[in-house]
């Protein structure tokens, strides 16, 4: 079963590829669940970028409610932990 709908969150993307508004949103339990969905989404986007040999961590996801109020901004850099040599 799908989980009980609690609230609709809109996860808008803003990165090197431009701005993409989330047209339909997702029913999620709370803002924590929306943040988790944003993190998962960013990891999915970045994995595709990595496969093409580039990684742009300068983007962010805006989490908005149905009225368009921005509740939280999740920078792409929060989705991955980077370890570099040296």
């Amino acid at each position: 079963m799908r989980w009980a709908p609690m609230a609709r969150y809109f996860l808008n993307i803003n990165n090197g590829g431009g701005y993409s508004e989330d047209p339909e949103g997702q029913e999620l339990e709370n803002l924590d669940a929306a943040r988790a969905a944003a993190i998962e989404g960013v990891r999915s986007l970045l994995s595709e970028e990595a496969r093409q040999g580039q990684l742009d961590l300068s983007g962010k996801i805006e989490i908005a409610d149905a009225d368009g109020n921005i509740l939280l901004v999740v920078p792409f850099s929060e989705a991955v932990e980077l370890r570099q040599p040296g």
Binding site: W3, I13, P23, E40, G41, S44, L45, E48
Partner: protein, 239 residues
């Protein structure tokens, strides 16, 4: 009631009046369901198969972490689980994506068809083989294709499958699934799907908006999706 089913079958083979009547007679009842309703749970012993008359259905499996993988979409005219006739239980669930109208076909009736009508039996065998071909194509997409290619391939597939049953309007068609459903078809997240749709739109290939797909450049979309319709076995149909 079975017109779309007949269109699907006749795009690949002949169906005699006797066979057509046998299909009509095999339907025990018609039921309607809302969106997101689970019609068949994996593991349950089944005594009937489901023929989709209207709407979109899917086969899917749930993962333990709450993720879902849709393994095939069904359009009107498809049996969603003709394979349950021989398997008796399914190893996957069947759920409605949009509101659906389905015909219930008891296995007993299918058994009578196999005993009485060998050509129709082979034709039904063919359709389950074609489902397997669709699964293979999705396997290739999920395993190897880029995000943009996966979605392009799916839009191409749905365009042809819906066109066969008379549900396209030139290069556009109703496809009332959410970006979350789409993500579950192509093994991506809704955010990744959103970004990929923007990419396809900006390249002038296809637009997916408010439950409708509008293809602007069929050749370009076919190229990006590496779409080869051979797996849909439409050689006899006017492509």
């Amino acid at each position: 009631m079975i017109e779309r089913h007949l269109l699907k079958l006749r795009a690949r083979d002949t169906v005699s009046p006797e066979e057509e009547q046998a299909i009509r007679d095999s339907i025990a009842e018609v039921r309607t369901f809302g969106a997101d309703e689970i019609l068949i749970h994996a593991g349950r012993v089944l005594s009937f198969s489901i023929l989709l008359l209207e709407g979109i259905l899917c086969r899917y499996k749930d993962l333990s972490d709450g993720q879902r993988q849709i393994t095939e979409l069904h359009v009107p005219g498809d049996f969603a689980d003709l394979h349950s006739f021989t398997l008796k239980r399914l190893d996957h669930n069947i759920m409605t994506i949009t509101p659906c109208r389905v015909a219930i076909v008891p296995h007993e009736k299918l058994e009578q068809i196999t005993e009485r009508l060998p050509h129709l039996t082979r034709l039904y065998w063919f359709t389950t083989n074609m489902d397997a071909a669709i699964h293979r194509e999705w396997e290739v997409s999920l395993g190897r294709r880029s995000a943009v290619s996966r979605i392009a391939a799916l839009f191409c597939e749905m365009k042809l499958r819906l066109e066969v049953v008379g549900l396209t309007d030139g290069l556009s068609y109703d496809f009332d699934i959410t970006q979350t459903d789409l993500a579950e078809c192509v093994g991506l997240t809704p955010i990744h799907v959103n970004r990929t749709l923007k990419d396809l739109r900006e390249r002038g290939l296809v637009q997916f908006k408010s439950g409708r797909v509008t293809i602007h450049d069929w050749k370009g979309l076919v190229e990006v999706g590496e779409f080869d319709p051979a797996y849909l076995y439409l050689e006899k149909w006017h492509l």
